[in-house]
Amino acid sequence: MSEYIEHDPRGESVGRVTRRFFTFAESFEKMILENGVPFGPVTIAYETCGTLNPDRTNVILVLHALTGDSHMAGVYSPEDAKPGWWDSMIGPGKGIDTNRFFVICSNIMGGCMGSTGPSSLNPETGKPYGTDFPVLTIGDMVRAQKKLMEHLGITRILSVVGGSLGGMQVLEWCVRYPEMVRSAIPLATTTKHSALAIAFNEVARQAIMADPNWCNGHYYSGRKPDLGLAVARMIGHITYLSDESMRQKFGRRLQDQSDFSYGFKADFQVESYLRYQGSKFVERFDANSFLYITKAADYFDLEQQHGGGSPVKAFSGVPAKFLVISFTSDWLYPTYQSRTMVKAMKKNGIDVSFCEIEANCGHDAFLLPNERLTNLIRGFLEGVFHDIGS
């Protein structure tokens, strides 16, 4: 996911929020990961907005994409230059209305935004895990989030919402914990990566691992593989845009010059933009986390893991009501992938709505402020909330 965060033009905001932490799987009760490895302790960073109602029926769990974090909306302090990554959607009177709902956003395990990941200290060595960190799956991330819900005393979730990698977690939640999830909104996502998506991830990982500073993942005491990570980010960025949006945004315009430099500096605006995005990204993200999370996304195959290869079987017995949304110019997770999951849901008699939103900004469309998307989500959530009341 890219960063488009700006303060709400109307000044609507959840205001100040606090990042919190929850730790489990300490000492004897380690978490058994899907690859069979016992692991612990696990810390999960999370944030909440809104108020939990007395009967605990207004919980919305928001799940973030590859490079997101628990900071979904609001600010940590009034001086913050930017609010959380989905501030346009979450807040008082917004699509996910914090006047009505208690919204939780959990950071993913394996990340570098406060949850346990490869840059965390390994208690056995006192040094960062690096590549000694176990390879995780989307299932592991969701199981850790389930522990967080237990910790918060939440047994039913009104809606699980997320786009891209967050959408994979949404789907995993629905099939893994069907009794907990009343409804779900998977946005711009898929039940499994296509070869195209795996290919881009692999090129991005190769860029990191080819950086001499990577040192097999044990770089925390020295220079970091910033160049590799920046290139990985540049590759990712291209897949989040579309031909149309790049033509509109950059075309062949030159950066601060009227003619070619006949050298290898960033002549074109698009080059300059990608370099800037890459260099900005390395300040906040860990290269190993990028490797682990993209690998988890590539391994994700809901159909194989929960349906023996059948998408229909994967969704059998899922009682949740769904709103599936795709975007016309998303070529990373194209509409046909959303249609596949919708078809499987229909065959199971699942109550599902589906909308393909016309948008020319590619995969990133789910993150950009969009009134059509906001109204869809608002209407759907109101309907679900109303249904449980009646």
Binding site: K347, D351, C355, N375, G379, E382
Partner: protein
């Protein structure tokens, strides 16, 4: 104050009156979901709609309806047999490329089908053809030959013949004329094929349904 019931289109009101409360209903080409919303609020049905236009789909979902964006001919294939109590094709049959396969698909996934369409053998249409020599343009079918989405024209009599051919039985039928901007109307008892502007049918499986 006019209640929603009084404000609903007369033909949709008739369809609604045929539907058992709390049943499972599929609306094909459901538009902005007027009928489905009425059925959901007044009959507590479990509704699903299929609509191809994004804007209309969004309107439906914003109302809290469960609606899928897609082509009815394809989307109808994915449901279990007899999954719906009623499958409704309201004012859409005249735009369907393959009516036979669509109606058969409707009756596969639904226990009953409800079909409504404009009657192309209304006396005014007959008169237009006879006296003006042009292809008729009416309130019910307000398009010229070159811009009409209505690729098929049929009469009430034609539809009856069609159900017999497909071996479906007619469970209920209403021949109506609409007035007052479609909010009101009358049942046509005599010579419906001549005097009704719309036909509405409920069909069931098996010839002896009626």
């Amino acid at each position: 104050m006019i209640s929603e019931a009084e404000n609903t289109r007369y033909d949709l009101g008739i369809i609604a009156s045929w539907i058992q409360p709390q049943s499972r209903v599929l609306g094909l080409g459901c538009g902005e979901g007027e009928l489905l919303h009425y059925l959901k609020t007044h009959k507590k049905v479990k509704e699903t709609g299929i609509e191809i236009k994004e804007e209309r789909v969004r309107t439906c979902i914003e109302k809290g309806l469960s609606v899928l964006q897609g082509d009815i001919n394809e989307e109808i294939l994915d449901y279990p047999d007899d999954y719906f109590d009623y499958v409704i094709l309201s004012q859409t049959l005249q735009q369907v490329y393959e009516p036979e396969s669509l109606i058969c698909a409707m009756m596969k996934i639904g226990k009953k089908g409800i079909v409504s369409f404009p009657n192309f053998c209304h006396w005014r249409i007959r008169m237009q053809l006879l006296f003006s020599g042009n292809v008729p343009v009416t309130r019910e079918l307000p398009y010229e030959w070159y811009d009409t989405p209505n690729i098929r024209v049929l009469s009430i009599k034609d539809f009856r013949k069609f159900t017999t051919k497909l071996k479906f039985g007619i469970l209920k039928e209403a021949a109506i004329v609409l007035r007052d901007g479609n909010r009101n109307g009358d049942i046509v008892k005599h010579y419906p094929n001549l005097f009704a502007t719309y036909g509405i049918f409920m069909i069931g499986k098996g010839k002896s349904a009626k």
